[in-house]
Amino acid sequence: MKQIINSIKSEDFLSVLPTASRQMLLKQNLGEIELIELTKFLASEPSRGMATKGGSNWSPDLLNEVIKEIRLLLCTNDTKYDEFRKKVKEQASPTAKIVVILISNAISANIGFAAGILVPLIAIIFAVASKVTVEAWCSKIDKEFNSAQNNAT
């Protein structure tokens, strides 16, 4: 799984994004930190700075939920995603789009958010992971995860 993500270019993951987000990100020469900040920005953007007028609201915790699941999938051998890992390995030459969609569908089934909501966030997270290598991304996320767990206990 790690090899597959590392073998796909960061830009290819960004190309899965819808037009406006893609144009915003591809124009820039972005480093890891900026991309993470931008993911947070995008994840909070739909209802930022205004009183929205509808019967439901954007979930501010969505990004954290998605990162937790990607950590399980990429950085651990948790059996929750065994079926998915098998599916990706079965792909002859998985493209960025196929990988992002398969993962969005897999995570969707576990966290209860529709896959269509997850696609832009997962595309950017994978663009970061591919840029810095999955191993480096996992190491960083593991540190944050462990630190959060220590604070909670």
């Binding site: 819808p18 037009t19 406006a20 987000s21 144009q23 915003m24 124009k27 820039q28 900026e34 900040e37 931008l38 920005f41 995008l42 994840a43 953007e45 739909p46 209802s47 700075g49 205004m50 009183a51 929205t52 007028k53 509808g54 019967g55 439901s56 609201n57 954007w58 979930s59 969609i101 969005s104 569908n105 209860g112 958010f113 529709a114 896959a115 269509g116 909501i117 696609v119 832009p120 966030l121």
Partner: protein
């Protein structure tokens, strides 16, 4: 003149706001709404009131129930607060509007009509049209340079207005999608109903990216 067929949308069994028919391909009819309405994006239904979402027709009211058709999420664009949902074209089809694609075609002071279902989350299926004007053209700042044009409209939005099309009065083209209104910093809310936010400064996402988003939604439709 083409009109924007505008309908109420429900998510997770709650009517949450407004959407409108945006386009169609051979398989799907696509509807646009505001992404912040989508919540978890599950159990999406499009309400089909007896007048068919055509504001020019007389409407039966008050209605407590209307038929609905199931939809699925096609694509989401967090940067613009837009979501496109897809329904099976064989089950529902309606003509789609033209779009204003270049911000230079919009003039400050120009008349627009906001069509939607104000108070839909409170059980009203009465579609209304309000004439207003573009009070300013905004370019919303983000973390890096990017044109994100918005129309700022002198219009009182209500609970259920999100996702309403903003229609240019002169030719019926859709030029914006309602997001929300100016929120005073100390805005109070009762549950998720904003209180004290009755400013008439309303923000609408400009429509330049809609044609691209529609094509992307169709291509994602079979994969998600």
């Amino acid at each position: 003149m083409k009109v924007a067929i505008t309908l109420p949308i429900s998510i997770n069994k709650k009517v949450v706001g407004t959407c409108f028919v945006a386009g169609a391909n051979e398989k799907y009819t696509a509807l646009i709404t505001a992404l912040h309405l989508i919540d978890t994006g599950n159990d999406i239904f499009i309400g089909l009131p007896p007048h068919g979402g055509d504001i020019s027709k007389p409407q039966l009211y008050p209605l407590t129930n209307i038929p609905a058709i199931d939809a699925k999420l096609g694509i989401t664009e967090p940067l613009l607060d837009l979501a496109i949902v897809l329904v099976d074209r064989n089950k529902f089809f309606a003509p789609s509007p033209n779009y204003v694609k270049n911000i230079n075609e919009i003039k400050v002071g120009e008349e627009v009509v906001i069509v939607g279902y104000p108070f839909a989350p409170m059980g009203s299926f009465l579609e209304t049209a309000d004439i207003s004007r573009v009070s300013a053209i905004g370019n919303r700042l983000g973390p890096i340079a990017q044109n994100r044009f918005e129309l700022i409209i002198s219009h009182q939005t209500h609970f259920g207005s999100s996702g309403s099309p903003v229609v240019r009065r002169i030719d019926g083209s859709v030029c914006g999608i309602i997001r929300g209104c100016l929120a005073p910093p100390s805005a109070l809310s009762l549950g998720n109903i904003p209180l004290g936010t009755d400013s008439s400064v309303t923000y609408a996402t400009f429509t330049e990216h809609i044609p691209d988003l529609l094509n992307e939604a169709y291509s994602m439709g079979d994969l998600l």
